[in-house]
Amino acid sequence: MPAEFGATPWGKAWLRTIEPTAVSRPNPLLPKARSLARNAAVTLRTAEAGRLDAEVSARGVVHRVAIEFPCWSGELSTEVAGLVADAAPVPGDLPDGLEATLTRRGADIAAPAGERAADCGCGAGDGPCAHVLAVLYAVVQRIDETPALAVELRCRAPLQAAADPDWIPLSDVPVEGFYGT
């Protein structure tokens, strides 16, 4: 049975930034954060390079959460994009072995806790609140479903978009000349 959070090494990399193995006293907010993620209280609005936006509903109140974090350098990003393209993964997936390769090349899969800037509408004081942690748990799960997201969150270089030439997204359909002449 795969783990509930961090079933893949990609998700696990982010999980370790919330649940560091080297800490002797666990963060008392974690059980609540896990419970929020588990019970679908988190809605991820954006998950893109350097930024996460989400809404967390807890006890009938919706909190807006924004988390910002640094991306890899341009050079490293280009290198990673090349390695990902070489691995030619199943859409959305990445081979687990690639995680170790990227880490060896100096590409930290997850943004370290110290480099993240989080903001939550709940206005709680210092350190990440349970809502911010819940968003991170939700991201861990999302990455387990789509390992490619782990790279998308950190990479500045354009990744080989798996755009399907057979379909045109509505946002790309021009209004002008729609009916022809």
Binding site: P2, A40, W167, F178
Partner: protein, 612 residues
């Protein structure tokens, strides 16, 4: 072809000579006003749908008019060009140019998730596939009038990725999956076949496949590969269809995995839903250019089964099994992840085609009849031959005595076709002993999995009890039996529950005679006649229980017929009688008694076609 865009298209269509089609609603992306700005958004648009057969010649004929003289839009003219080009395989470049200048309105059909429209090249490609498929089916001498959705299905099968890829045809039972697969095989004959074709199916449908192939594509060479003493010609000729069962697939894995097949069809693909089963592992090793799995059970919602079947048809598509669990199984099944479900849906959508009866209701008659050819098991064949031999050896006599003995013999033979346990009166295990029982069990499992309902008619109380016992066990739901021994109150309660209670068992058994009074069971989508009654009017009357006014959606009537037996003789009599439009006919069973021994024996001797 969908005509749309003007308020009342019918007048314009009539004026321009285009077929009027039938009214329907399509989901298109069209310009909509969003506040002050115009944007593209999804809308349900009233259209008129015309079949390609009528639309193509009419579009081509449009050229006799000058474009400026009609109110037809630029889209119609673009599709006219497509219709002109589609007749010719060599116009690749011109199709590219047409795609580039087609107005968006000509290809604004929304994809399944409603967030994107088909690109012009993709839609033109599908259009050409449809036109080609129609033409090739004509050339392939398939003796069947395909319904429009079936042509779509064949075109879809032909467009699946080749060289080791494939897909799942998952149409609901009764929509003609076998026919669509046969059409695929029929268009891959002669120089188009890169090798022989393989059909793997449960033993209970081997006979049905052979019959349908002979009926719809008699030119195809069919090689049955089952039973003791089986053997394949070496080499198996290209284009020939080898029909085998899953048990033979397991037993003859070495032989079957050595042949380079063109198309491999895995029918009743629930048989390969367990990835660890030997049949599944063997199926995955069958070398074929194109692999098609067929099942009537919805597969999208049973993730382990979906993985297992797609791992046979499209290896690598979903990744390894453990990874699939991590990425989809656990997220979807344990935490109901909508994102994971959506992504999986998008990933498999190109490789799974499922239509339900309600999806294609416009193409279906309200009542359709399907003959389900079944085979005898070894035990049945032995009992059947013994009964015939004994009767003629003992002598049938003359006059009234003869009549009595012939009727008794006919009854025995019908019982043997039903189930050896009915004939012998034993109470042992029932599975695997009767071709009909095994087939009906598979059919009902599928119907129940589809959340549909079925009525099964039998004329024998004893057979009904056997069916109740067996089906209750295998379907995991109680199966009530409405027969003459029940009092009226109890019968009414059964009928009422079947008609109105959502929690009531989805399968109801009825004795043919007891159902002859005014019961109304319109909730069933399927009627199964387990055995044959001499008079077709009695069967028709039973069928009509399910087809009173008030039945919503089409009804499928399945009649089980064991090949080469007295049942087939009865089926032929029924066809003849129905052809007389209900004319009163004599007592067929008694008429048989009047035949001289020699001719009677010719009718009753077991034919080859029922044997495996």
């Amino acid at each position: 072809m969908a005509w749309w865009g003007v308020r009342e298209p019918a007048d314009l269509l009539a004026e321009t000579g285009l077929p009027p089609g039938r009214p329907a609603v399509c989901r298109f992306a069209v310009p909509v006003t969003d506040g002050a700005a115009e944007a593209i958004g999804p809308r349900e648009v009233p259209v008129r749908l015309a079949d390609l057969d009528g639309a193509l010649p009419a579009l081509r004929a449009l050229g006799r008019r000058r474009r400026a003289e009609t109110a037809l839009g630029a889209s119609v003219w673009a599709w006219r060009e497509a219709a002109l080009l589609a007749g010719d395989d060599r116009r690749e470049e011109e199709f590219g140019a047409l795609a580039a200048r087609m107005p968006t309105a000509a290809h604004c059909v929304l994809g399944p998730d409603g967030t994107a429209i088909s690109s012009a090249p993709a839609l033109l490609r599908r259009f050409r596939q449809m036109v080609h498929t129609r033409r090739e089916l004509g050339a392939a001498a398939v003796r069947a009038d395909l319904r429009p959705y079936q042509v779509t299905g064949v075109a879809w099968l032909r467009a699946l990725p080749e060289t080791g890829g494939g897909g799942i045809l998952a149409d609901e039972m009764g929509l003609g999956k076998t026919l669509q697969a046969i059409c695929l095989l029929a268009t891959r004959q002669g120089p188009r076949a890169t090798g022989p074709h393989l059909v793997v199916c449960p033993t209970s449908v081997v006979g049905n496949w052979a019959r349908e192939l002979a009926r719809f594509a008699p030119a195809i060479r069919v090689i049955g590969h089952h039973g003791p003493g089986r053997g394949l010609p070496d080499p198996v000729p290209p284009g020939a269809v080898v029909i085998t069962s899953y048990s033979v697939l397991r037993a003859d894995a070495a032989t079957l995995t050595e042949i380079s097949w063109d198309v491999a069809v895995f029918d009743e693909a629930q048989q390969i839903k367990n990835p660890e089963a030997l049949a599944t592992r063997t199926a995955a090793r069958i070398p074929a250019r194109l692999r098609v799995a067929m099942t009537g059970t919805p597969v999208e919602n049973r993730l382990d089964e979906l993985w297992s079947i797609l791992n046979v048809t499209n290896p690598g598509l979903l990744g390894g099994r453990a990874r699939f669990r991590q990425r989809f199984g656990v997220p979807i099944e344990q935490r109901r992840s909508a994102t994971a479900a959506k992504r999986l849906g998008a990933l498999v959508a190109p490789y799974v085609l499922r239509r339900t009866k309600s999806d294609v209701a416009a193409d279906l008659p309200p009542k359709q009849f399907v003959t389900v050819a079944c085979s005898l098991t070894g035990e049945q064949a032995r009992l059947y031959r013994d009964a015939v031999d004994r009767a003629f050896t003992d002598g049938l006599g003359t006059g009234a005595a003869r009549r009595g003995r012939v009727l008794a013999l006919l009854t025995s033979l019908k019982q043997i076709c039903n189930h050896p346990a009915q004939f012998l009166g034993d109470d042992g295990d029932l599975a695997g002993r009767s071709g009909k029982l095994d087939r009906v069990t598979e059919m009902l499992s599928e119907i129940v999995a589809d959340d549909d309902r079925a009525l099964i008619f039998t004329q024998y109380r004893v057979m009904g009890e056997l069916l109740v016992r067996h089906l209750t066990d295998t379907l995991g739901t109680p199966v009530p039996f409405l027969h003459g021994g029940l009092d009226v109150r109890r019968r009414d309660a059964l009928v009422h529950a079947f008609q109105t209670d959502d929690a009531a068992p989805p399968v109801l058994l009825l004795s043919l005679r007891a159902a002859g009074f005014g019961v109304n069971l319109t909730r069933a989508g399927h009627v199964v006649h387990y055995d044959r009654w001499w008079n077709p009017a009695v069967e028709d009357q039973a069928t009509d229980r399910a087809h009173r006014i008030g039945r919503r959606g089409p009804l499928t009537v399945h009649t089980l017929v064991t090949g080469g037996t007295v049942e087939e003789h009865i089926a032929r009599l029924h066809d003849a009688k129905r052809a007389l439009a209900g004319a009163v006919s004599g007592d067929s069973a008694a008429a048989l008694a009047d035949l001289p021994d020699e001719r009677l024996r010719a009718v009753l001797t077991l034919g080859e076609e029922g044997l495996l």
